[in-house]
Symmetry: C2
Subunit: 246 residues, 2 copies
């Protein structure tokens, strides 16, 4: 690790020191720069190496520990936990993951998980939604008609649609999970719309999902959502369908 008190690994400006440090170290851990089980160095040593106080360093440790990346005991020191114990679905962790070098395999895993969650969500939404949910979904669709998915407004509208759909499931656990995953997946789609000009018009499949839900046909809603995800995946530049099937 680089020495010198002035390195302060470049982090977003608005963040406090402990947040920025946690982010920096978190990205390093997620990128696999340290082997699991490997020691992390003493507090005094590390805090001095990063040019921060021991207090700030310790608060960063608390954050990373809370997310399952580290564990520390007196005399034993601080160690990186086995990958299995990491909270991979933590939104912040996902953000760090994509800020570093996104692991291709994990992105595929996320898509696959989304492929499990969202069709089931559509199915549930079809039976449980009320008029208000439907109105919110329509609002999102209207936004998608006005703005392209390459614009910020278009992406927000898309997100509104999916959020409304999830809320209609009346399942808090599902909502919590899906928002994390969807946000992460959407982060990857940024590249898609930045690099390619026009993948395809995503409206038809969205409307198919909406109609199936509106008419309260669970099985049709599931199928429509599966189709939507299949098409979205097909547009991804770097992910190949063969990989998806493994």
């Amino acid at each position: 690790m680089k020495k010198g008190a002035d390195d302060k690994a470049a982090a977003p400006r608005g963040l406090r020191i402990h947040q920025a440090l946690a982010r920096t170290l978190g990205i390093a851990i997620l990128s696999g720069e340290h082997a699991p089980g490997e020691g992390f160095g003493g507090e005094i040593e590390q805090s001095e190496a990063f040019g921060v106080s021991r207090t700030a360093y310790r608060e960063a440790m608390r954050i990373l520990t809370a997310k399952g990346l580290l564990e520390s005991r007196p005399k034993a020191g601080t160690h990186i936990t086995p990958r299995r114990r990491w909270n991979l679905l933590d939104p912040e962790l996902l953000e760090w993951m994509f800020a570093g070098k996104p692991d291709e395999g994990f992105i595929i895993d996320l898509f696959e998980l989304r492929g499990v969650i969202e069709p089931a969500a559509a199915e549930l939404a079809a039976t449980r939604h009320d008029v208000d949910d439907l109105a919110r979904m329509d609002e999102g669709l209207a936004g998608m008609r006005r703005h392209d998915l390459s614009t910020a407004e278009g992406q927000a509208a898309d997100q509104d649609f999916h959020t409304a759909l999830l809320d209609a499931t009346r399942n808090e656990a599902l909502v919590s999970l899906a928002t994390s995953v969807a946000a992460a997946v959407r982060w990857t789609t940024r590249f898609k719309h930045q690099h390619r000009k026009h993948p395809r018009d995503p409206l038809p499949e969205h409307e198919a999902v909406r109609d199936a839900i509106a008419s309260r046909r669970p099985e049709a809603a599931r199928k429509a959502m599966e189709e939507l995800l299949r098409l979205a995946l097909a547009d991804m530049p770097n992910v190949k369908m063969e990989d998806y099937g493994r």
Copy 2:
């Protein structure tokens, strides 16, 4: 500070102060004792109220913030975030949830989520497992034959089986999620085996899942797992099937 007023922090003795305090406050927040958006009091005020140093109190704040329960800014103070931003699938959060007053509705949500995840996992495992995965699953089953589910060994064997199954999906995100949810759900089943004598022998449905996976029949594996979960749910004392269907 004054040790006479060690009132609220009645937490497990093995934990450090910041952990215990985070747990105590986390349980309070999850129980809905404070309204979202409500202020949380200043550091000096609160730390003195709990009879701990500001250092320990602040580290507790970092933990709760990392899990999405709080946010704090200078001058504005520390506030409870809207429930939507909480990281409900965090294992520690789930543990706190059941340590407090478990919300019946959320338990149902978890069951429902499990009902979405595990059948899909079984389906994937059926196509991707190798001989080693199968050996581990059989090992778990053997343990379940030797020990009853009311014993610690029996529960461990059951967990081994499900863990092996999940690993066979080759999907890290799925593993991370399912272990949290399954652990939480299993936590609720403790009551079942403590209070009732003998619900039923869970082996047949487990073996059905194993056989479907072993013979690489994804759809059969999914069906078998759905049946397993249906039976497990039926054994629950406090959860009624009608609630599940809503």
